[in-house]
Structure formats: structure tokens, C-alpha cells
Symmetry: C2
Subunit: 153 residues, 2 copies
DNA sequence: AAAGAAGGTAAACATAGTTTACCAACAATG
DNA sequence: CATTGTTGGTAAACTATGTTTACCTTCTTT
């Protein structure tokens, strides 16, 4: 190993939970966008992922999506307009609920969302191969416990 | 539990690794910015975190930081200019290395970075309390193995 | 010496978000 | 039952943050 490589190599032992979560989360994020585009779902970019993510936006009101994504209703509404133009979803009137609207996937939207899930499952297979199925299951279980706790709120 | 609450509640079992990593990573990210600002390190915002994160930018060239952050050298250079104006760092000439420059924390920069680490350690204590020390250690160990693997590249 | 590569910087531009402002539908209240 | 307030949504102006394009300086190569 060269001196520069040794200097660049990072010490996992010193790493705190922030970086340990951030790095793989970002890598996954980028990969999903890349593979969606490659699979013919063009036009989808980073910001759109605030909509195309768990839990599914299908059947949900715009304001709720804005809150989930931690952004203003106006910003979310623009994203929705953009995704509508790209043919992934439609905003329909909610019957009997005042001015409320409801976001619905189009056929194309359903396909794109399914593709994203497919990519994620492939990533899970890779991780499972690297860590071993038992340890990967453990990892998911632990992260699930974090999610269910008040820590993430 | 009301009907609407039940509908909103999310099923951890169904969650894929993307959401399981993303949600806590984002929560931690926001909290660090909030607590840094509250501790008197004002002006620091989301984009600055591309610099203020592991591994430390201290002693590193701007181009390397750009690559680490996955952004253009120009965008990084602006961030660095902003952080320089805020008094957190300085770009100094690198001796005997052509046009190269080196990023150095100021006193204030060192203090802010130390504060961020302190917040992270507090978060780790909280997680450790929630999961139990053993399971939290396991979680970090597993994430460390992911980091060391080619999965994150 | 000339050409090219590496590192950095600057300005124009595009994108994506917030702020401000407004409209429509329903609920509550006198 | 008219007025007021609340909720949900939308539009436009503004702000920030990033990329693209272009250029400068220093060092290396030929």
C-alpha cells in the first residue's frame, strides 16, 4: 500500500453513526436514480425521489407528502407537477373532502415504483451476499428497531 | 388506535434497506445542523455539511473534498469561500506543490467540528440506551463491514 | 521552448427550494 | 344565515445552490 493510499484509507473504528449511515444511504440513492434512468424511466432526478420513496405516495394528499419529505407544500406541488408532466402520476380531486386532492400513480408511475423496489431488492441480495444472510437480517432488524423507536422523529 | 393513525403507521417488516438507512441518516443530519446553530455556530446550513463531515477536511486539498462530496470543484470552492467568510476555515497555499491549496480549520472551525462530534456521541448514547449497548455495538459493527466492502463505492 | 496536464478560480446559467400572497371549500359562531 | 376562521392547494417572486463554460497559474513532458 502506498503512503497516499494509507492516508486516504479511513478508519472504520473511529467512525460515528452519522457517517456509517450516510455513506451507504447516499450510494443507494444515487444507484436507484441511475438504474431507473437506465431502465427507460427518464427525467427522474434526485428531487423526485422525495416522492418516489417509501412509503408510496399513491393515494396520498400533496400536503401529507410535503410534510413527509420535510419541505413546503409549494415545493412538493412543483415536484408533483413535474412528475405529472413526465407521466408518472396525476393529481385527482378527492371526492367529498373539500378542496383536497389525491395523488395517483399512472401505469408508468406504478412501473417506475416497482422498478425502484426491484433495484432495492437486488441491493439487498448483494449486501446479503457480502455480510451473509444472517448478519444482513440482523442489520435490518436493528435498523427496524431504530425506526420504531422515537429516535428518528 | 384511530383508523387514520393505523393507516399512517408504517410496517417495518416491509421496509427495504434504502428507507431503513435514509430516515435515521436524515434525522441525524438535521439534528447536527440544528444543534450547531443553537451552540452559537451560526450560518452553518445543509450544504456546508458536505465539508463538515467525516473524514475531516482539515489539511485536505479542495479538489479532493469536491470528489469526496460528489460535486464539482467549483461548487466545493464556493462552499469553502462561504465557510471562510463565516470564519470556520482558511485556504492556504500548499508549499512546493504547484498551484495546490490546502484547507485548514480556524480555531472556530475546530470548535465547530468538535461540537458536531459531541452531538454525534450524544446521539450514540441515546441509540445505545434504546437498543442496549450490545445491540448498538453490533449495529455499528455491521455498518462498518458494509463500509469496508465494495458495496458503498 | 512549446504543449499539455493538474489544480484552482470566476462568471453565467439552470435548478430547486422558501417566502409571500391568494383562492376555494368547509366549519364554527354570533 | 352571514361572517369569520381553518384547511388544503396553487402561483409568482425571490433566493440558494449547483453545473457548465471559460480561464489562469504552475509544473511536467517532449
Amino acid at each position: 500500500m502506498s503512503i497516499s493510499e494509507e492516508n486516504l484509507r479511513v478508519k472504520t473504528k473511529d467512525m460515528l453513526i452519522g457517517a456509517l449511515l450516510r455513506a451507504p444511504a447516499e450510494a443507494i440513492h444515487r444507484r436507484i436514480i441511475r438504474e431507473l434512468n437506465a431502465a427507460g424511466f427518464e427525467g427522474l432526478s434526485q428531487p423526485h425521489m422525495a416522492v418516489f420513496r417509501y412509503p408510496s405516495p399513491d393515494g396520498v394528499r400533496p400536503g401529507v407528502l410535503a410534510e413527509r419529505a420535510g419541505m413546503s407544500k409549494q415545493a412538493m406541488n412543483r415536484l408533483l407537477g413535474s412528475l405529472e408532466d413526465l407521466g408518472y402520476l396525476a393529481r385527482t380531486d378527492a371526492p367529498d373532502e373539500g378542496r383536497a386532492r389525491i395523488v395517483r400513480f399512472t401505469q408508468r408511475g406504478h412501473l417506475a415504483y416497482a422498478k425502484a423496489i426491484e433495484v432495492l431488492r437486488e441491493i439487498e441480495r448483494e449486501w446479503s451476499g457480502e455480510l451473509g444472510p444472517k448478519d444482513f437480517a440482523r442489520l435490518k432488524l436493528l435498523l427496524g428497531r431504530v425506526w420504531e423507536s422515537p429516535l428518528v422523529r
